[in-house]
């Protein structure tokens, strides 16, 4: 157990300081996640009111406007490419691969994109939904 190895008072103090630091960091991360997700959270609840499905969010052109600016390019590139790796996104948007990877992963966490592995490659795409024929 973690606590057992830190029984002396000096070590306990160290542990506390470490814990506080960890908590601060976690809080910071949570805050940024909450601010990133807040507009979508609203949409999600609204949507859930209408139909109970927990279907992912639709990154339509007007929803793009409520996303952070750096994420919009990735979505627009996916309108065109349909399905793409971070590498392919980067070729389309002329931004660094790492930027596209971070952006696409963030959009996936937010529920706008889906991600799937095919062999060695990871593809990002916008999920097709039943209701799209409406």
């Amino acid at each position: 157990m973690l606590v057992k190895t830190f029984t002396t008072p000096g070590n306990l103090e160290l542990l506390l300081v470490k814990l506080i630091e960890e908590v601060k960091l976690t809080n910071k991360k949570l805050d940024s996640i909450i601010t990133q997700n807040s507009p979508n959270q609203k949409q999600k609840t609204k949507k859930n009111h209408k139909n109970k499905s927990t279907s992912p969010l639709s990154p339509d052109v007007l929803s793009l406007l409520s996303l952070p600016a750096h994420l919009r390019k990735t979505v627009i590139a996916l309108y065109k490419l349909e399905k793409a790796t971070a590498e392919e996104l980067s070729a389309e948007t002329k931004r660094l691969r790492a930027v596209e990877s971070a952006s696409a992963n963030q959009l996936t966490r937010m529920g706008y994109l889906k991600k799937k592995r095919e062999g060695h490659k990871v593809y990002f795409y916008i999920e097709q939904k039943m209701e799209e024929n409406k």
Partner: protein, 270 residues
């Protein structure tokens, strides 16, 4: 030659998008180019009117059908080139004018709009790569309609048609700042229906007007066109570029057609 997709858009209605898109398409097609002119104004379809002479029967498929995935883009296109004896090709894609179709465009889901914008992107591929179209021209509804923003997002250049009326300019400014720039799109602006009192024909005032609006909208102005009474009164079923090819309005659009064509070539050679 590279290919381009142009969207005509505006903040308010009636600024001249349809008349300009129609005449520009005709001018280019008559220069020997292959043009697809598509009516994405699903709320108030109006391209059919201008080309009524060439449209003998109701099309089997509308653009609405294509966007909804019910047909291929080729199946919606009507070739009107021979009716007007054009040197090149002019294909029309029409929006369904029935009340039922218009009503149904108003209650689409967000998921549907996502698939709609994807269809527009895939349409570009088909038209350019398979049909060798030189330019796709999209006519849209004014303001923040989904179909218009989808068109703007999927096009290479958007041309905002505005009058120099204060309210209209304010609306265009708002559109550029809060929509175009947010989506990383840089539009060009066409000032239309400038009142003759502005004395546009004296170069000094034309420059002043253009500078003023360029500063306000922080976007390049491609041209300023006067308000011509006979254009205003002309039947909606006529195409000026065909009926009065020497009209000043047509001459203005010829210059614009040339500018766009040359910019396109320059971009390509870069």
């Amino acid at each position: 030659m590279t290919t381009k997709t142009l969207a005509f858009h505006s903040s308010r209605g009636g600024t001249g998008k349809t008349v300009i898109a129609t005449n520009l398409a005709t001018i280019w097609a008559n220069k020997g180019l292959k043009i697809a002119l598509l009516d994405l104004d699903f709320r108030a379809p109006s391209l059919a009117g201008a080309f009524s002479k060439a449209i003998k029967k109701q099309p089997k498929y509308w653009l609405n059908d294509f966007i909804s995935g019910r047909c291929k883009i080729e199946q919606t296109l009507i070739d009107v080139s021979s009716t007007y004896r054009l040197k090149g090709k002019l294909y029309l894609g029409l929006a369904n004018p029935s009340i039922e179709a218009i009503r149904s465009t108003m209650d689409k889901s967000r998921a549907w709009e996502v698939s709609a914008v994807k269809r527009l992107f895939s349409m570009r591929k088909t038209l350019f790569k398979e049909m060798n179209i030189d330019y796709i021209i999209l006519d849209t509804s004014p303001g923040l309609q989904y179909s218009s923003i989808n068109a703007v997002v999927s096009s290479d250049i958007s041309i905002i048609v505005t009058t120099n009326d204060e309210v209209d300019l304010k609306g265009s400014e708002n559109l550029i700042e809060n929509l175009y720039l947010e989506l990383d799109k840089k539009p060009v602006v066409l000032i239309n229906k400038v009142l003759p009192e502005t004395q546009l024909h004296t170069n000094k005032t034309e420059k002043e007007l253009i500078n003023k609006i360029e500063n306000q909208l922080k976007s390049p102005i491609i041209a300023a066109i006067l308000c011509y009474c006979d254009v205003l009164q002309a039947k909606r079923t006529s195409i000026l570029a065909i009926e009065k090819p020497n009209h000043a309005f047509v001459k203005n659009l010829e210059t614009i057609a040339k500018t766009l064509f040359l910019t396109n070539k320059l971009n390509f050679e870069e």
